[in-house]
């Protein structure tokens, strides 16, 4: 039956590179989880540069009161696209990409459960993102903020076609994410190596696994909301138009019922990375494996019962607010336990500060701050004071940047040797780390203060009130430091890809399965594997080998 089988140039022996025989065709037709993982990372980097450029423009505009570098309309498009890009096209694809690459390796599988679905997920993500960004060329980008509150996002108030691109683009990437989520769950459930019981998987795998359920449950809600928004805009229905019988609050409910789990979708895999990096560089076991795994489930369940804490000022009434405040504060408990467990993992270890570990430690500190400011906005009367001011801007950046992005950097410095076979340059890495840490805290710590000084978020300018100018200027200078740090990081990647020190199979002497194979792994990850008996299979096997020899 030749009719239904297509000959695709799939890799046969070695991992292909762009220089290989099939070249780029092989990359775009690949279903190999490693290649797709790498593509995910490149896609994220591409969008990261776009989103970062938008952020820099915004900080430039806000550097001093009364500047007119971009027009108000452009500014609104910039922050909308910055938020949307960073959440949907940078953080999510990076985390999904790392999981696509390492989840099968860590459970001793050679492939994901559905390799073609895996490829589809990647391309959906990419094309959804391109569609979203195409809006810049098609008359105007979305301009109603990344959560697009109706009715501002309706045709009557947002005239360009930007929000149509927003709806369609996010639906497309959302379908891609659902595909990835399905794949992760099923791969974890069905393809683990012999002996690796579900309660013995590495924590990164566990957290991606739990996270995938969040994706599966949250994205349909977003898609439903987006579909209604799109029908409102294109076919003239009335879902979110209050003056013709619709409801503005309904959109907020749909969006945040998705949006809050989304925050944990961005956080949990990061927690997983930290739970791999910290033990390896502390030369210790992960402290409280079971607790870390259990608290993840707890967080995932709670995350669906907290969405209305984004709507404390919407006037929902005290009883509803009480319920959601309780849920939101409760999340602080498992998260706090996690933080203590990570620190306890380092306790009495031999901590080696590679760049990866530095990012992990900085993550603990910054994420604690982000968590505490998160509790502040969970306390309803304080939310009535600070929400929608720069305090919230500071909070989300402490969670997404100081939290998730730091874990991503930690993960990339940790796993780059496995992906490329070469080490990232540690000296450049440290420059990257310190500049980024300094720039990040400079930019965003002061924004807490700006929030206390009543500066609303999403303003393209501000009155020249005392200290507004200077705080914003320092904040913008911090952004420049981050820019330099990112340039160093990218330079480091390209330099190390060419001439980095060769890594060997297991440069960190780590113990999860991905370090048992070659760097980079061959097309077939593993030929044969011994049985897994503990959380530290690679160390066990080395010991067995030594014992057999003597």
């Amino acid at each position: 039956m030749k009719l239904f089988s297509f000959e695709v140039p799939e890799p046969t022996e070695a991992l292909p590179s762009i220089k290989s025989r099939y070249g780029i065709l092989q990359w775009i037709s690949s279903t190999d989880h490693k290649q797709l993982g790498i593509l995910y990372l490149w896609v994220s980097l591409f969008f990261f540069l776009i989103g970062g450029f938008e952020a820099m423009l915004m900080r430039l505009q806000l550097a001093w009161p009364g500047l007119q570098i971009v027009s108000p309309q452009t500014f609104n498009e910039l922050f909308t696209m910055h938020g949307t890009t960073m959440v949907f096209l940078v953080l999510m694809p990076t985390l999904i990409g790392l999981a696509t690459y390492f989840l099968p390796l860590m459970i001793g599988a050679n492939e994901m459960a559905f390799p073609r679905l895996n490829a589809m997920s990647l391309w959906m993500t990419l094309f959804g993102g391109l569609l979203l960004n195409f809006s810049f060329l098609a008359g105007g980008a979305p301009d109603a903020g990344w959560f697009s509150y109706a009715p501002l996002s309706e045709k009557n108030y947002s005239f360009s076609s930007g929000l149509d691109y927003y709806s369609i683009g996010l639906i497309v990437t959302g379908i891609g994410s659902i595909g990835a989520g399905l794949n992760f769950v099923i791969t974890t459930l069905t393809m683990r190596i012999k002996g690796m019981r579900l309660r013995k998987v590495p924590l990164f795998v566990w957290m991606v696994f739990i996270n995938s359920f969040l994706i599966l449950a949250a994205f349909p809600l977003l898609n439903a909301g987006l579909v209604m928004l799109l029908i409102d805009r294109q076919l003239g229905s009335h879902f979110f138009l209050p003056n013709t019988g619709g409801s503005a609050l309904l959109w907020q409910h749909f969006f945040w019922a998705f949006g809050h789990p989304e925050v944990y979708i961005l956080a949990l895999p990061g927690f997983g990375i930290i739970s791999e990096v910290i033990p390896v560089f502390s030369r210790k076991n992960i402290f409280g494996y079971t607790t870390l795994a259990a608290t993840t489930v707890f967080i995932a369940l709670l995350s669906f019962g907290v969405w209305a804490h984004h709507m404390f000022v919407a006037g929902l009434g005290n009883p509803i607010n009480t319920f959601f405040a309780a849920g939101s504060m409760l999340i602080g408990i498992p998260t706090g336990i996690k933080i203590v467990n990570w620190m306890a993992t380092m306790w009495k270890g031999n901590i080696y500060f590679s760049t990866s570990m530095l990012f992990a430690v900085a993550f603990i500190l910054d994420f604690t701050l982000g968590g505490l400011s998160g509790i502040a906005v969970a306390i309803v009367p304080l939310d009535w004071r600070v929400t929608d001011t720069y305090f919230v801007v500071a909070h989300i950046h402490y969670v997404f940047l100081g939290g998730t992005l730091f874990t991503i950097f930690a993960g990339i410095y940790y796993w780059f040797p496995k992906i490329s076979g070469r080490m990232l340059n540690e000296r450049l890495g440290k420059w990257h780390f310190w500049l980024f840490l300094l720039g990040f805290n400079m930019t965003f710590f002061l924004q807490h203060l700006l929030g206390f000084m009543g500066m609303p978020r999403r303003v393209f300018s501000y009155p020249d009130l005392p200290y507004y100018g200077i705080l914003n200027l320092i904040s913008s200078i911090g952004a420049v430091f981050m820019l330099i740090a990112v340039v160093i990081f990218i330079y480091n990647i390209f330099k190390s890809l060419r001439s980095g020190e060769l890594a060997g199979n297991n440069p960190w002497n780590a113990w999860t399965l991905e370090w048992y194979t070659t760097s980079p792994p061959q097309l077939k990850n593993f030929e044969t594997l011994p049985e897994v008996t503990s959380l530290r299979p690679v160390i066990d096997w080395e010991k067995q080998k030594v014992a057999q020899k003597s």
Binding site: A248, S282, G288, V313, A376, P456, P466
Partner: protein, 313 residues
């Protein structure tokens, strides 16, 4: 903090007092937690730092008691702050009783505030004048998109959601000017949707209120009359109200006592002759995205109209 710094902890009402108190308690708790985490982390990092990756070392350590202690401390903190949250929340956002009639209704528009004094129907715009003293209820509505009323010193912030009537308690103990702003992103000129609240002693307020209830002033000079005529001819009256004239539309702000206000365009500019002229000449130049059209008037007409508006004290 220095009084000249604008900040959200300036308090002129009971509500803001107790919110500030709650904030202070939380701030102390959060600071302690953060110092504990940071201190512990720094201690570990200094003590167990190693110059190189000790490839052969591997230690195992498990101890359930730290988890229990964390669980205990975190739970206590959550319970305490949940209790405080509920207590403060129910105290601030009390449903008004029958006697507690709402005093004003504030409606958010893109990008100005419509203010209606209930009971004794009076419409003004963009500046809220209130008497000092007891707290009162204000109703919050929106004419188009979601806005958010926030004057930090007087009370909590509250969204203005189209199709929904929210209420909020406000109070000003001392007379003075209180600045506030729209806090929910509401479109192109969200930035310039600020508001000033003027709190007067009750007698002062009564005086102001009676003044505002007057119809618009009449002046005999020709420029004024010409401006008044232009206001009708150039369809300004299709959107604005000036009581005492035939202008009765309510799309844009009420202009009856326009020149008595301090600022115009949502706090973007002061009310003076030059600004009014600039605004009429090219609204988009002054406030990009604003809904007022450019009527392409001659210099002479602009002068007359600005003169007229500038005299509506």
């Amino acid at each position: 903090m220095n009084e000249s710094i604008y900040h959200i902890f300036r308090s002129s009402s009971e509500d803001t007092d107790i919110m500030n108190e709650l904030f202070f308690h939380f701030f102390i708790a959060a600071l302690v937690v953060f110092i504990l985490v940071a201190g512990f982390l720094i201690f570990i990092v200094r003590k167990y730092k190693s110059k190189k990756l000790e490839k052969d070392k591997y230690t195992v350590l498990e101890n359930r008691s730290t988890e229990r202690i964390t669980l205990f401390i975190a739970s206590v903190l959550v319970i305490v702050f949940l209790f405080l949250t509920v207590k403060v929340m129910f105290r601030i956002q009390q449903t008004p009783s029958e006697e507690q009639k709402p005093f004003v209704k504030i409606t958010g528009h893109q990008w100005w505030w419509e203010i209606e004094y209930l009971g004794d129907t009076l419409f003004t715009a963009n500046e809220l004048h209130i008497p000092t003293g007891d707290k009162f209820v204000a109703l919050m509505e929106s004419a188009d998109v979601v806005h958010d009323w926030y004057v930090p010193a007087l009370g909590r912030k509250i969204d203005m959601v189209p199709g929904v009537t929210n209420f909020v308690w406000m109070q000003a103990r001392e007379p003075g000017v209180y600045e506030g702003m729209c806090n929910e992103f509401c479109g192109a000129q969200h930035t310039w949707m600020r508001v000033e609240v003027f709190a007067h002693e009750p007698e002062e307020f009564e005086k102001w209120f009676q003044e505002q209830k007057q119809k618009a002033v009449e002046k005999p000079d020709t420029l004024f009359q010409k401006g008044k005529q232009l206001f009708q001819d150039k369809v300004c009256a299709n959107c604005h109200t000036i009581r005492g004239t035939s202008a009765k539309a309510k799309v844009g702000p009420d202009l009856t006592h326009f020149a008595s206000r301090n600022k115009m365009l949502g706090g973007k500019a002061e009310v003076n002759f030059q600004n009014i002229k600039d605004w009429i000449e090219d609204p988009q130049k002054m406030k990009h995205g604003a809904y007022m059209p450019n009527f392409l008037m001659t210099e002479e007409e602009i002068n007359a109209l600005a003169h007229y508006l500038h005299n509506l004290k």
